[in-house]
């Protein structure tokens, strides 16, 4: 589903080159639920933005659902993002001027979907996240957990092949976080491929597989005992 081979991302200035990702390799199979962990600044979010075609990379290869994406133009990348990828962000990233219904409608509008189908999908997505009664509410009128559920509904409405979640419970209290996590697990059970970046060991433990990033590279924790103290126990989660 998602395969990066020897991928690198370099930020260049006149005096320095900074590698955010270096010789980065990952292979996420269809239907997997993968947690990506690592310390701050390790390159987790950069990996996620490249995986979501929000950013280009400097070298290597990236195949998404069998498509080599490195040479695609902006239109093609946008279309793939719209049709194949759903995003869930830590800060929810709902558009404050749009109500719940209109927020969920945004990706469907860009897909050029007809109004009747858009409505059906939005109502289905809202029902799935348990917010059917809040369709006309604005984000500011919802709790953090509800906002994240709306964001998940927005990601689900387009029936994406891949869900990319960046610290999806980072801004939520424990109870709300648990609810959101259960929802993600339910979505995964229904067949979605999920790649989730997180700091939270408890959250990572709920994934099928953990990938740990340090200094822009995927590391095998079994071979890097010095990192065991910081990481969740991936062996028991595989």
């Amino acid at each position: 589903m998602l395969k990066m081979s020897h991928l690198s991302k370099v930020y260049r200035t006149e005096v320095v080159e900074t590698y955010a990702l270096r010789d980065f390799n990952i292979d996420v199979k269809e239907g997997e639920f993968v947690a990506v962990t690592g310390p701050s600044g390790s390159g987790k979010t950069t990996f996620l933005t490249i995986a979501g075609l929000l950013e280009t990379f400097s070298g290597g290869e990236y195949h998404l659902d069998g498509i080599e994406v490195s040479n695609l133009n902006d239109n093609a990348r946008s279309r793939i993002r719209n049709e194949k990828i759903g995003f869930i962000f830590q800060a929810f990233n709902l558009i404050p001027d749009l109500n719940v219904y209109d927020n969920i409608e945004v990706p469907l509008r860009y897909r050029g979907m007809k109004a009747a189908e858009r409505k059906q999908r939005i109502m289905d997505a809202l029902e799935r996240v348990g917010l059917s009664s809040r369709a006309r509410h604005y984000p500011a009128e919802l709790s953090g957990g509800q906002q994240q559920r709306v964001a998940i509904a927005r990601a689900l409405a387009g029936s994406p092949r891949l869900l990319l979640a960046d610290e999806p419970t980072g801004n939520l209290d424990t109870q709300m976080a648990r609810g959101v996590l259960e929802l993600l697990e339910e979505i995964h059970r229904d067949g979605a491929t999920i790649v989730m970046v997180t700091h939270d060991p408890e959250l990572a433990a709920r994934a099928q597989r953990n990938v740990h990033i340090i200094d822009g590279q995927v590391v095998d924790l079994a071979e890097e005992p010095r990192f065991h103290a910081h990481a969740a126990a991936p062996q028991s989660l595989a």
């Binding site: 979010t45 933005t49 979501g52 929000l54 950013e55 902006d74 239109n75 946008s78 279309r79 993002r81 719209n82 049709e83 995003f87 962000f89 830590q90 800060a91 990233n93 709902l94 558009i95 001027d97 945004v106 990706p107 509008r109 860009y110 897909r111 050029g112 927005r154 387009g158 960046d166």
Partner: protein
């Protein structure tokens, strides 16, 4: 998607009414200033006879010489001698001489008082040359010219006054104490500027009441009601003295269909002036001009300088308004960088973001156009404060000006939004989402 973009645009404009009002006012005032001054400039600088302006020429022959002419230019009209030579030679397809006359019209009946009427003494070709539209009848024939016939063409206004708007053709009217048979009634016709008589007018006069044969006017020794210009000692006392003087008062026009015809006519004029030099009447080399309508309007400086200056100032003001609008749009668009990042993440391409913001700018332009139209409607009657009355009344808010107001407002605002929208489309979604 257009309806979606419009929906987003209206939502965005409502979100910050003060900023929206500021932009709409900038566009509205800029457009209104431009349209008000344009309405004057358009009226005074347009081609009054676009279909034929390149085929109508007014010949000028220098009958005064380098000591007496103005900066080497021949006079703007002809004296009787030269004018009649051109007429009799008949070297052009159509030709006319003309000068303005004023006569009293007796409406008929005992109780009616005479009306003062302004008109022109013209040749029979005048009507076909200048495409004068007729309500009833036609102009007169060449035979009428030769016969010095007592015929007249009257305007629809005079026809209304004399005959209540009924067909006046065949009726007789009394002009200056002589009876004339009406052969034609024109529709409203008053080309602006009045290109065919810039010697006696500024180009923006009221409609002429009548047209009578040039030959008939000469027979009746009718003095010009327009300008005349003479050089040297004025010794004439009789009509014949006046005709033989060097005073210029007659405007000639010829219709020439091709470049070859123009060259041939120019050659004819050169030969004539050379003959006059050889005969000793001209003590100078041939000095001629043959200008078409547009060249003639330019030569006569028909467009008042204040019209051009006020239009340029208004355009400058509009440009300043647009520059301010660019700044406001840039601030408005980039303040929504976070939203742009989200939309990009959800599948919007750069082109879609660009289009969305251009359409938002177009709605600002449309609102600016509405305000501009209201201000233009309010401002057009105030043109009289800047221009003489005969020019001020030419400024009119017609359908074409309404359409132009909207087109300029929308096009200018969209053009002003090119850069802000481009910057919005270049927002890096990854950075925006990371910063959130």
């Amino acid at each position: 998607m257009l309806s979606y973009y419009l929906e987003l645009a209206l939502r965005s404009l409502r979100r910050n009414p003060a900023l929206t009002a500021l932009m709409v006012m900038a566009i509205g005032f800029g457009v209104a200033a431009s349209m008000i001054t344009w309405s004057v400039f358009r009226a005074v600088s347009g081609d009054p006879i676009p279909d034929k302006s390149a085929r109508l020429f007014t010949p000028q022959i220098d009958g005064w010489g380098p000591q007496q002419n103005l900066k080497g230019e021949p006079a703007d009209a002809l004296n009787y001698t030269d004018a009649m030579v051109l007429m009799r030679a008949h070297e052009a397809k159509r030709q006319t001489l003309l000068y303005p006359v004023q006569l009293s019209v007796m409406p008929g009946g005992d109780r009616d008082l005479p009306l003062a009427a302004n008109g022109y003494a013209v040749g029979g070709d005048f009507f076909a040359m200048f495409e004068v539209p007729f309500e009833y009848g036609t102009g007169w024939s060449a035979q009428d010219d030769h016969a010095r016939a007592a015929v007249v063409v009257i305007s629809d206004q005079l026809n209304q006054k004399l005959f209540g708007g009924a067909n006046g053709v065949g009726r007789t009217i009394n002009l200056g104490g002589h009876d004339y048979r009406v052969v034609g009634v024109t529709r409203h016709w008053n080309p602006k500027p009045r290109f065919f008589d810039l010697f006696s007018t500024q180009g923006f006069e009221d409609v002429s009441d009548f047209y009578m044969p040039f030959t008939r006017a000469l027979d009746l020794e009718m003095r010009t009601d327009g300008s005349n210009s003479c050089r040297g000692k004025l010794t004439f006392t009789t009509w014949d003295d006046w005709l033989q003087s060097n005073c210029v008062w007659i405007t000639p026009w010829v219709e020439l269909d091709s470049a070859a015809d123009v060259a041939r006519y120019r050659h004819f004029l050169e030969n004539y002036a050379a003959d006059q030099q050889r005969a000793g009447r001209f003590d100078w080399a041939p000095n001629l001009r043959l200008r078409d309508v547009v060249q003639w309007l330019d030569h006569e400086r028909v467009v008042p300088p204040e019209s051009r200056i006020s239009f340029m100032v208004a355009l400058g003001f509009f440009v300043i308004c647009l520059v301010n609008t660019i700044g406001l749009l840039l601030a408005k668009f980039l303040r929504r960088a976070g939203e742009i990042g989200v939309r990009r993440a959800l599948g919007a391409s750069r082109r879609q973001i660009y289009t969305q913001y251009l359409i938002e700018a177009a709605t600002v332009g449309l609102a600016g156009g509405v305000l501009g139209l209201l201000l233009t409607a309010a401002g057009v009657p105030g043109v009289g404060l800047l221009f003489p009355p005969q020019i001020a009344r030419l400024a009119q808010l017609d359908l074409s000006l309404v359409a132009l107001t909207f087109a300029v407002a929308i096009f200018a605002t969209v053009a002003a939004a090119f850069y802000p929208a481009w910057r919005a489309a270049k927002v890096q979604p990854a950075w925006q989402l990371k910063s959130n």
